[in-house]
């Protein structure tokens, strides 16, 4: 990899980069990991939804099965599909619980054919996909973490300073995001505090939580590593947290894609493919 620093603009020699310059943005390790994750997360999500279909109820604690109270479930009653969270029951006919397959037949599984791998019910096949791609996700995260310590990506781009974490600064960044005003020129080389918080949250909280709660559902893993059961409060709690963390990751991906679309999608995608990013020109809007 051409390990030019992000600070170094091309075409202007050593001078500070400015709006309109084409600069080195993302390191090779970051780009590789990003696209591996695109594949791994999509497969993990869709095969995971199929696995959920095998038992579409969630519990807290060590045990939980049909005779026990579920805090969340997706089900059907007659022709009506529903999702229930606690005592709040929402009709979801057509999407969750009751839906039509591509042949027009009514199906009573939780998540519909277009959201699952494979598209027709198979717990066995979904597990084959899920548990193979889990290795890609987990080993990928580990290698990325090591690479980002070595190439100083964490230290340089993601470390949060005391100044940035002040409520006033965070509030300022929220207002800028709400007005769709993104940094331009040299400032666009650095992540904003909301970006840093969400990337740090995904890399150091959500993805490790997904992996560890997934392992806690494995009877062999928790025979060797019983502390996992205590950490999450039981296999069924781990399964619930696995599902909640999934929802949080999906929310991250949705916001992430929206922000890419709003901030110049082709430039952003090029930066994540080739590493080269054109700094947005100054519009004189920023104070």
């Amino acid at each position: 990899m051409a390990s030019a620093t992000t600070q170094q603009a091309t075409g202007r020699g050593a001078a500070a980069p400015a709006g309109g310059d084409l600069v080195d943005r993302h390191r090779l390790a970051t780009r590789l990991w990003h696209w591996i994750n695109v594949v791994a997360l999509v497969v993990m999500l869709m095969s995971g939804l199929m696995i959920f279909n095998a038992h579409p109820r969630l519990y807290w604690g060590h045990y939980g099965a049909n005779p026990d109270p579920a805090w969340f479930e997706i089900g059907s009653r007659g022709e009506q599909g529903f999702a229930r969270l606690g005592s709040l029951k929402v009709p979801t006919t057509g999407v969750l619980g009751v839906w039509r397959d591509p042949e027009g037949r009514i199906q009573r599984r939780a998540f519909p054919h277009w959201a699952t791998i494979p598209s027709s019910y198979s717990l066995a096949d979904a597990r084959i996909w899920h548990l193979a791609f889990a290795w890609l996700l987990a080993v990928g995260l580990l290698v990325f973490m090591i690479a980002s310590l070595v190439n100083r990506h964490f230290r340089r781009d993601l470390a949060i300073s005391r100044h940035e974490i002040r409520p006033g600064h965070i509030w300022h960044d929220i207002k800028e995001h709400a007005r769709l005003r993104f940094p331009t020129g040299e400032a666009a080389l650095r992540y904003g505090i909301l970006q840093k918080l969400s990337y740090v949250g995904v890399i150091f909280v959500l993805l490790p939580l997904m992996i560890l709660t997934g392992l806690t559902m494995s009877p062999a893993m928790v025979s060797g590593w019983a502390w996992l059961l205590d950490l999450f409060g039981g296999r069924q709690s781990a399964r619930s947290l696995h599902f909640i963390a999934t929802a949080a990751l999906v929310a991250f991906v949705v916001v992430h894609i929206v922000m890419v679309l709003l901030s110049g999608p082709l430039n952003q995608i090029r930066a994540m493919v080739s590493g080269r990013y054109r700094l947005p020109p100054d519009k004189g809007l920023r104070p």
Binding site: A65, P67, A124, A134, P219
Partner: protein
């Protein structure tokens, strides 16, 4: 700009559609499935490292037990032999231990109670995702295998069961690591009572570091074998023959 956005939107939808049908096509491809199923070996090796040998599954207290233990799989075998045994409260039933052993055995329920017993309150983890906690008691499988004189050529224990799905008999298999694990027992008591028929009377295998489908119910015969790929559909169990992993530690 709008053109660009709708282009990207169209590409996203198109990619999504390709992805969906592509995944189904990959799912049907033997080569790709073989690649994915290779992960089972990784699971087996890594988990034997983490929880091989003596690592015990968590044992719980009485207060942690499920109020009602869910019944799963076959509820009552249909074979006339089994029904006759059940009618006689399994007094005439004998557990056959044969295959690669020096001394084949035919064990009654009272014979089984003569072996070293183990009682354990453990969590039953179904492959579907639910769990139930119950108390199991019975002879350790290892003691029975020692009494039968297990041959050094044996690599697997196959459990032949009385139940079937549409005429296809249920069976399961485990390796010697699990067979001689201290928590691997032939449960004859559940929650301090004789094992009820829906839970696998008269004997259910407990192999606590693996998922529920490995815990064969209605066990009639334990066969020691050197290989399992020449039995039924060749993958070592009823559900394994239908696409589930033989190693069910995860």
């Amino acid at each position: 700009m709008i053109g660009r956005r709708s282009l990207i939107g169209g590409l996203t939808l198109g990619t999504g559609g390709l992805l969906l049908s592509g995944c189904d096509r990959l799912n049907a491809s033997p080569g790709f499935r073989g690649l994915l199923q290779g992960a089972e070996q990784l699971h087996y090796r890594s988990q034997r490292l983490v929880a091989g040998g003596g690592a015990l599954a968590r044992e719980y207290g009485r207060a942690d037990m499920s109020p009602l233990f869910r019944v799963n799989g076959n509820v009552r075998p249909k074979s006339p032999d089994y029904l006759a045994y059940a009618l006689g409260n399994f007094a005439d039933w004998r557990l056959v231990v044969d295959g690669l052993v020096a001394r084949p055995l035919r064990l009654s329920l009272s014979d089984l109670s003569g072996f070293p017993q183990r009682a354990q309150i453990t969590r039953h983890d179904c492959v579907e995702g639910w769990s139930a906690i119950g108390k199991w008691q019975g002879p350790q499988l290892g003691a029975i295998l020692r009494a039968a004189g297990l041959s050094s050529r044996a690599n697997f224990l196959v459990f032949h069961c009385a139940d079937d799905f549409g005429g296809v008999p249920y069976y399961e298999s485990i390796d010697l690591n699990d067979a001689f694990h201290p928590q691997t027992i032939l449960a004859v008591l559940m929650n301090d009572h004789r094992l009820p028929v829906p839970h696998g009377a008269p004997v259910r295998l407990r192999v606590e570091r693996q998922l529920g489908y490995k815990h064969a119910k209605f066990v009639m015969r334990i066969e020691a074998r050197d290989r399992i790929d020449n039995l039924h559909l060749g993958r070592g169990g009823y559900w394994e023959d239908r696409g589930y992993a033989w190693y069910a530690g995860i």
